[in-house]
Amino acid sequence: MRRRAVIAGIGALFTSACSRLSDSKAGEALLSAAEDWHRKAHRLLGGRGALAREFDRADISPFFRGNGSTDPDSAEYKAAVQNGFADWRLAVRGLVNNPLSLSLADIAALPQRTQITRHDCVEGWSAIGEWTGPQLALVLEQARLKPEARFIIFHCADRLAGKPYYESIDLADALHPQTIVAHRLNGEALPVRNGAPLRMRVERQLGYKHAKYLTAIEAVAKLDGIGQGKGGYWEDRSGYQWYAGI
């Protein structure tokens, strides 16, 4: 009987230690190191420029599920929907030599990339869609990044639980050929559910990195001071991994 109690005790100790790992400083450092090893391993195995798989039209899923915000309820956004996003502007600011304010027409006038990719949600589901828009690299080239810029922040028009949505990626993903500012899904203007009028596609990472309802792109040297400093809405709120390639 005592032996059984000891085994049960060891088991309980193990599961509670696992549950509380992130409560300690060392545990938190270990978890973020493991996340970092995954990112480095992915880029080592595939190269920094490895492309996400692209699919055929026949593979497109019949519906593209929306998640998180699917209908932002601010008065400004509602008004923007009403007038067909005619006055929507995308600001490009921060550590750039040439800040921009782009209209949807400006964005559509840039060279476009169309790609059929699979969207993987952190929850586990996937959908396939065809996205069209200019590469973020082209936009950043026009804005002329300063050498000290290391991250790109995406600011959004939607709020979840009262906090503005935002996301961030490093330059390896920002300058990646499949990272586009999408304004079309399956050949149509982006539906509100999927982030109209503009959303990011960061194809090598999970869905929460693909910021929707995009209003501004900001180049920064570090993530501190933006939101709670962890690099994104879900990272701040729930401790989601900043590198969402896993």
Binding site: A52, D120, G245
Partner: protein
């Protein structure tokens, strides 16, 4: 010579800790989206081939629904689990443990021999003649070490969007990410089934000696 050498004993307990943590955090992750699909994509109930029950808190790590914490632990434990298995295989192949104790011979696959082994198991007769493990044991250990555990790693990597860009052939082998996710789930439960049988047979075959030997080595 010891019954179990030191490296397999260390690996055995490290692997138990990893698999336990991965399994229980995996059930927490499963609670985030309780449907499984085949192919590349799937999100709606009508696409699903299986509706997965919600796993209660006592089966999951953490003991309440927390996708971020469960994923953190899952991707952390993936490292010692995968590297441990890699070392275990390298050692088993190099020192002959695999050839000597786990690899089966053609003679052992004869139906009469298999039947004899099954009957012996049913009579709870665990004496081994000649080799260290009998046929069913070799089959079980070989399947877990050679198929189920590596399959967990391969399907886990196929689910990751970063790995999918680095090694696109991986999820193609499994005919799509959602198929890989389904196989990941099924294989996890196959490992759990092995775990239950393994524990049952340890309990039936002198648990004190078995556990002591797996810790201290024991007499060959």
């Amino acid at each position: 010579m010891k019954r179990h050498a030191l490296p397999p004993r260390l690996w055995h307990w490290l692997n138990l800790a990893c698999v336990t943590g991965l399994f229980m955090s995996g059930l927490n992750i499963s609670n985030a989206h309780r449907r499984l699909y085949w192919g590349e994509w799937g999100f709606a109930p009508e696409d699903a081939w299986l509706f997965v029950p919600r796993f209660p808190g006592w089966m999951t790590i953490p003991g309440h629904y927390d996708l971020a914490a469960a994923r953190d632990l899952h991707v952390l434990l993936a490292w010692p689990f995968a590297i441990g298995l890699l070392f275990a295989w390298a050692a088993m192949m190099l020192n002959g443990h695999f050839r000597r104790d786990i690899m089966t011979s053609t003679a052992e696959w004869r139906p009469a021999a298999i039947w004899r082994d099954i009957v012996q198991h049913l009579k709870l007769d665990f004496t081994h003649h000649g080799s260290k493990y009998n046929f069913l044991q070799k089959l079980a250990y070989g399947t877990v070490l050679g198929i189920l555990l590596p399959l967990m790693i391969a399907t886990g990597m196929a689910i990751s969007p970063g790995m999918d860009s680095a090694w696109p052939w991986l999820s193609e082998i499994f005919a799509g990410r959602q198929s890989a996710r389904s196989i990941h789930f099924l294989t996890a439960w196959a490992i759990f089934a092995f775990f239950v049988i393994h524990i049952a047979l340890v309990l039936l075959s002198g648990p004190v000696r078995q556990i002591r030997d797996m810790i201290c080595g024991g007499e060959a």
